[in-house]
Symmetry: C2
Subunit: 302 residues, 2 copies
Amino acid sequence: MAAEQEAVSNKRVILSNYVTGFPKESDMKITSGSIKLKVAEGSKDTVLLKNLYLSCDPYMRWRMSKLDRPSFVDSFHPGEPINGYGVAKVLDSTHPKYAKDDLVWGSTGWEEYSLVTAPQLLIKIQHTDVPLSYYTGILGMPGVTAYAGLYEVCSPKKGEYVYVSAASGAVGQLVGQFAKLAGCYVVGSAGSKEKMLDAVLLNMRLRGRIAVCGMISQYNLEKPEGVHNLEQLIGKRIRLEGFLAGDYYHLYPKFLELVIPAIREGKMVYVEDIAEGLENAPAALVGLFTGRNVGKQLVAVA
Amino acid sequence: MAAEQEAVSNKRVILSNYVTGFPKESDMKITSGSIKLKVAEGSKDTVLLKNLYLSCDPYMRWRMSKLDRPSFVDSFHPGEPINGYGVAKVLDSTHPKYAKDDLVWGSTGWEEYSLVTAPQLLIKIQHTDVPLSYYTGILGMPGVTAYAGLYEVCSPKKGEYVYVSAASGAVGQLVGQFAKLAGCYVVGSAGSKEKMLDAVLLNMRLRGRIAVCGMISQYNLEKPEGVHNLEQLIGKRIRLEGFLAGDYYHLYPKFLELVIPAIREGKMVYVEDIAEGLENAPAALVGLFTGRNVGKQLVAVA
């Protein structure tokens, strides 16, 4: 099919330079490349994706910096497309696990089409009666973060009090709902200028657990703000624990068993903030750090 | 026995005033009262102690402040004797569990003789072939703190690395030895002026555990110093957990089974810094916070 092998244009979001301080739209630029919509003959285990939705996540800020010490993420490369979580359709595949027209979510590029040579980072989407965009949020990494942070790291008991910071964000809005499902009382806050963690420590109860998946207010500071009330940990026997969703993907089937029916039955709701078009992706990403979004920020590519 | 009912003098260390900032010797004063060396007839469950050793512990600094919010300890009362952990001999008792000449350790007053009306806080000493002063340290609260913090809170595995801050203190010198017994590699530091915890966070390994039993460098500050590197918790999945020895006294028999033979066989050693006489107790307590002591600071009363 000669037509399929003709190159088409491929709009991309490129990191212009390493970022210090708050990221600006001008730290990224939109460029146009070209791509053949077919995996080249002889390329093993390669998948060609048409990206449908791209996820704007706070951890991406770390990748925009030149990281000078080992971290759980790598820096983006200036001059190359940003990458992150997304939802995509398989256009072509030489990997036995993926076939044309499969829908997947996972690691992809900020561009119209991505050639993925590590498709083991893609999860096949089984349930398509829910909005596909949900796989960047409630059914994707933020969903697993909320689920694992609450149920696995904090092990809540019925009747306990759960406080959620950044409660209107991609993860926060889910923690509150999971806590309700567990029979807990929920208090949340969002967009506060207070030293959140210090205030939380003063108000924690005995043997409280704090799961830490991110510290969005700190990512753009040359030096993070100090936390002054850690003494509270001792007398109250508080546990403060960092975690990453990536350590809990083995629970994804169990997670879906809980969440898919809850969505279908309206027991869980999810607020999204969808920017239309790759052109608007840089503004959407930058907006995370000024708190412009209400709910999960994502980009609809098409 | 008429002689027994004559009052004898009872030297005491009184808190003069609530303390702010670094405690000074002049925040305490030595006074002399009098006491009859017999529990008054009709006093139920009361024990009269002759104090032998008094323990100087960093947490006592909290009790010298006027605490304006609930805490796991109460403030001392100006004008009254300080109290804390000590080793004592029972002179008289109306409590069925304690008899004359029993040796005990636990909560007592900073004075020559104490009338204790809550003797349930006293533990009877069974092993007297080791120095009695050890029951303020390796065989007392600091010992249980080191044991519980390492074995119960951190659950070390053979071959792991253990870092001990304040490694020359009452607790720190034991953590290193317990870690060795568990087959771990040990690194320690003491007396550093660096922002200890921030440096530790940068150097922690993946899935490291930090047990926090105290923050001696912070107790005298109007506002504790900030900890800036808590972001490290996330990528490294670090757990930071506060705990109190008091939650682990049910393990004391098991603890003794490990430690008593280790002392007898010379497998564990313990460095003490003993001030002689109640007159020197205020200086000994104050010295904790300037790092004057090497090893466990205590006071020999007699």
